[in-house]
Symmetry: C2
Subunit: 346 residues, 2 copies
DNA sequence: CTGTTAGCGCATTCAC
DNA sequence: GTGAATGCGCTAACAG
C-alpha cells in the first residue's frame, strides 16, 4: 500500500498523488478529490520515513528532561505533546536522571533520529554534552543557560519577580527569620533562585542569616533533611521559602512528624506550582512558574528556528514571569497573632 | 556525510561499510577496523530513516498511556524507555487524557510513523479505536483486556491476590465495616478490583454493606468526595480500601480536613504503590503493582511478538502479581484498642 | 569475503 | 497542470 497503488487506482501519476497529499495548490481540484477519495477508501497513510528521507525533514523534536518521574515534568511533556501534535511534529522524549551517561545516550538518539531541534529542559545540567547537536547545527532551546550563539534560544525565567513577591508577603506577615532551602547549587536555576532570595531580602532590609540558608536537592527527602536542620536552630525560623515544591512538600512532611504545625508555627512557601501542591495539607502557597508556558515557549522557539531562513546571530531570548500564588501554608509570624492590633498600637 | 563518504575514505564499497556497521561477522576484521576508525573520526551516525525505509523496521514502539500527568505513569514511561534504549528501540509516547479523539490521533500517529508494536496502557479504555493498528497487523499489548487473537498480548494482573491480603489485614485488625472506593467503573481494571474486593470480603464471611461501596474516579478529588459521603454515614466505616493511590490520597486529605485522624479513627489502604504514597502523612499502606514490572512485561511482549516467526494464534498472556505493602495508614479498629487483650478475654 | 546494483516510498526536478 | 525520471541514504541480493 503505497503512493503508486493510489496513483494506479486514481489513474494519475505518483507525482500528482504526492501533490494532492501535500495540498499543492496548482493541482486540479477534480483530480485531487479523486485521489483523496481513494486514499480514504484504502485508509492509506503516507510513510513518514520515506518522506523524511527525501525531504530532509523528520518533523521530530527532541525533548530532554531531567526526570520524567519528577512531578514537575509530566505537565511539560503533556503540553509539549499537545502543541507538537497540532503542528504535525512528533516528540523524541528522553529522561537523563541527572546522569551524564544518559545525557550522552540521549544526544546520540536525537542525532540518529535526525531531530530538527531539541528542547533541553534540564535547568542547567550537563549542557557541555550537547556538542554533537551543536556541531550538526540542530536548533536548541534551553532554560536559563543558553549561550548567545546562532540557533540557540533561551527561556529566561524571571525568578526574582515571584521570589520578591514571596519574601514581601512573608515580611508583611511579620516574619523576619526567613529561611531558604536551595536546590542543588550546581544547577544554574537553583543558584539563581537563591540569589533572587538574597536580593529580595536585602532590598527590604531584612537580615539574611547564613545558617538559615540550607542546601537541598529539589527532592522531598532533601526538604525533610532541611527541616530537621532548621528545626534544631534556636531560635527557629518562622518561615521557610523553598527552591521548589517537592522540597516544600518534604519540609511539610517532616514538620508534621516533628509536631510543628503549618502555618501556625511555621509558614512554608514553595516554587513551581506543581499540581500536587494544591492538594497538600494545608494547600501550599507557592510561586507559580507555568509548565504549560515553558512547553509552549520551548516549542515556539524551536519552530521559529526551523522556519527561519537565516538563524539570528545571537540566538533568541524568551521571557517567562513567575508569580506568587497564595494558598494556605503561610500565616502571621508566631507571636504576632494580633498583628493588626499591634500595628494600630504603634 | 553519508555511507558513501565513509566508503570513499576507507577505500571500500558502501556495502562493506554497511556490513561493518551492522557487525556482519563475515567481514574482514581489518577492513571493519578501518571503517570504524573513519566513522569515529567523522563522528558519523547512520540515518535511521533510510535504514527504516529499506529494512522495513523502524525500531519504534508506541506507548499509549491514559495520562502522563497521573503519577502512576511516569514510572512506567521511565522504565519502558530504559529497556527500549537497551534494545535500540525508540518510543512514540502519547497520552490520551481519556479522550477518544486523542486516542484516535494517537493511533494515526503510530501508524504514520510505522511503529512495530504498541503498548496500550490505558487499563481498559477505548480499545475499539485501535482497529487501524489491528488491521495493519501491528502487535499490541494490553493490560487486562486483550482479546485472544494473534499478535495480541495481555498482561493479566492478579488483583485478587493483593486485595485479598489487604482485606484480611483489615479483618485481622478487627475491622468489619470496610468501605471500598472504586475507580470509574467503565474502566475494566477498576471493575475487576471492585469485584476482587467483594470476593475477598465474602470468602472470609465479612458483610458487604452496599452503601460502603462508593464510586470514585481514580483522582484525588474523587477520593475527597468519597470520604465526604462515607464520613456522613452512621455508623461510619472504620477502614477504607481504595481502587488506587490517588484516591487514597484524596481520602486522607479530606479526612484531615474533617478532623478524622488516620489511622486511629480510620484505616486507609491504597492500590498501585506510586512513589508518592510513601511520603504521605502517615505513609500509605497500599497494594503494590510494580510499574517497572508492567513496563518490562509490556516491552517483552512486544519484542517477543516482533521477533517471532509465526504469531501465536491465541496471543500470549503475561501474569503480574500484586502484594500488600504495610506502612502506617492502618491500625486496629477503633473500640478495639486493646485488641490483643480482648482476644485473650474471649 | 567484497563490490556492484537495485530498490525501499516518496518529493521534486524537468519536459510536456 | 501533469507525468516520467531522479535520488534521498541505506540494505540486501547477487556476482565475482
Amino acid at each position: 500500500m503505497d503512493i503508486r497503488e493510489i496513483a494506479k487506482r486514481a489513474k494519475v501519476s505518483t507525482a500528482t498523488v504526492s501533490r494532492a497529499i501535500n495540498r499543492v495548490p496548482t493541482v486540479n481540484p477534480n483530480l485531487a478529490k479523486r485521489v483523496w477519495k481513494i486514499i480514504e477508501e484504502l485508509d492509506y497513510y503516507p510513510n513518514t520515513q520515506a518522506r523524511a528521507l527525501v525531504s530532509g525533514k523528520t518533523r521530530i523534536f527532541g525533548l530532554i528532561v531531567s526526570e520524567i518521574t519528577n512531578p514537575f515534568f509530566p505537565e511539560i511533556v503533556q503540553s509539549f505533546e499537545d502543541i507538537a501534535v497540532q503542528h504535525n511534529y512528533e516528540i523524541l522524549l528522553t529522561s537523563t536522571i541527572h546522569d551524564p551517561k544518559r545525557m550522552e545516550i540521549s544526544v546520540r538518539r536525537m542525532i540518529e533520529r535526525r531531530v530538527e531541534g531539541v528542547a533541553v529542559l534540564t535547568f542547567g545540567m550537563e549542557e557541555s554534552l550537547l556538542e554533537g547537536l551543536r556541531f550538526r547545527k540542530v536548533p536548541l532551546v534551553f532554560v536559563d543557560v543558553a549561550p548567545h550563539s546562532p540557533r540557540m534560544s533561551n527561556i529566561r525565567i524571571n525568578y526574582l519577580q515571584g521570589i520578591r513577591q514571596a519574601v514581601q508577603h512573608l515580611a508583611a506577615l511579620r516574619h523576619t527569620r526567613i529561611a531558604f532551602v536551595t536546590g542543588p547549587l550546581q544547577l544554574r536555576s537553583a543558584l539563581v533562585r537563591k540569589e533572587a532570595f538574597q536580593e529580595s531580602m536585602q532590598e527590604i532590609g531584612l537580615e539574611i542569616f547564613p545558617q538559615l540558608i540550607v542546601e537541598g536537592d529539589h527532592t522531598m527527602e532533601g526538604g525533610m533533611k532541611a527541616l530537621i536542620k532548621l528545626a534544631a536552630l534556636d531560635p527557629r525560623p518562622t518561615a521557610i521559602l523553598c527552591s521548589n515544591d517537592m522540597t516544600a512538600i518534604g519540609v511539610m512532611r517532616e514538620a508534621y512528624d516533628c509536631g510543628i504545625s503549618i502555618p501556625e508555627e511555621l509558614s512554608v512557601v514553595g516554587f513551581d506550582d506543581i499540581r500536587l501542591s494544591e492538594f497538600m495539607i494545608p494547600p501550599l502557597t507557592t510561586i507559580r512558574m507555568s509548565q504549560t508556558e515553558i512547553a509552549r515557549l520551548a516549542f515556539r522557539a524551536l519552530k521559529n528556528e526551523v522556519d527561519r531562513e537565516e538563524p539570528a546571530a545571537e540566538g533568541t531570548e524568551y521571557l517567562l514571569d513567575t508569580n506568587l500564588l497564595l494558598r494556605k501554608s503561610t500565616a502571621l509570624a508566631p507571636g504576632n497573632s494580633h498583628g493588626a492590633i499591634s500595628s494600630r498600637e504603634i
